[in-house]
């Protein structure tokens, strides 16, 4: 955990889905930090939501999300993320670590695209920090998502705060 509380610009982006092993490795690294009592982890997974698809004479045929293709304005995203990290450590000073990963490229339904992982001596700080950081990332990071459907059509995803998973509500 040499990077603990370092407020330098860190790359949060991962090409492709987030492998569950990366999360296990992240967790295992914290065993040396015996001041930690609680880890809180949020994971976003791409949902196979059903959407209105192709227009026919009568109606729109339903279709299903097969994948989301994520792109970003990287420099701005990493600058915003650095500010969010700094503010999170100010708001929750007991937090010992905060790790964020977000996927770029094509992430299939069922795959993980997002991880926010906070550690703290007690659970309340970690829990609140994760919820807050997830919300801030969804609203402030310039990340774009193209929903690709099983019929090869696509549509651009956009977050609104009622939305809560990894596809629009």
């Amino acid at each position: 955990m040499s990077e603990t509380k370092a407020h330098k610009v860190k790359d949060i982006f991962v090409e492709g889905p987030i492998p569950p092993n990366l999360i296990a490795t992240s967790i295992a690294k914290h065993a040396t930090r015996t001041d930690i009592g609680a880890h809180e982890i949020f994971l976003g997974q791409v949902r196979a939501d059903v959407r209105d698809g192709r227009l026919t004479a009568d109606n729109r045929l339903p279709t299903t999300v097969a994948a989301i293709e994520y792109t970003t304005y990287r420099d701005m995203a990493l600058e915003r993320m650095t500010s969010i990290r700094e503010e999170a450590f100010t708001r929750w000073p007991s937090m010992t670590c905060l790790h964020v990963h977000h996927s770029l490229g094509t992430i299939k339904a069922g795959e993980l695209c997002f991880m926010v992982f906070a550690s703290a001596p007690h659970r309340q700080g970690a829990r609140e920090a994760v919820a807050w950081v997830v919300d801030r990332i969804k609203t402030e990071l310039p990340i774009f998502g193209k929903e690709i459907y099983i019929d090869d059509t696509h549509q651009w995803k956009h977050n609104d705060l009622r939305d809560s998973g990894s596809s629009p509500a």
Partner: protein, 74 residues
């Protein structure tokens, strides 16, 4: 100046950047409207040096300008 385009806006423009002559936010919006088909129907924000700017402003020409469709991270 080169303006960065993302997501659905890059898709509509057929490119991830566009060369424009714009001295202000207002003239930039005007140019985008004339150069990108269906631009008026899109939701977007403009970032100047990686910060979203809503008010009008004049450009020195060295700014990093980007046109951003709605965010979809997470």
């Amino acid at each position: 100046m080169r303006v960065l385009l993302f997501g659905v806006i890059a898709e509509k423009a057929g490119s991830e950047s566009i060369e424009v002559n714009a001295t202000s936010m207002a003239s930039l919006r005007e140019t985008l409207r004339s150069r990108i088909d269906g631009f008026d129907a899109l939701s977007y924000a403009i970032a100047v040096n990686r910060r979203i700017v809503k008010d009008d402003m004049t450009f020195a020409g060295s700014e990093e300008i980007a046109v951003l469709p709605p965010f979809a991270g997470g």
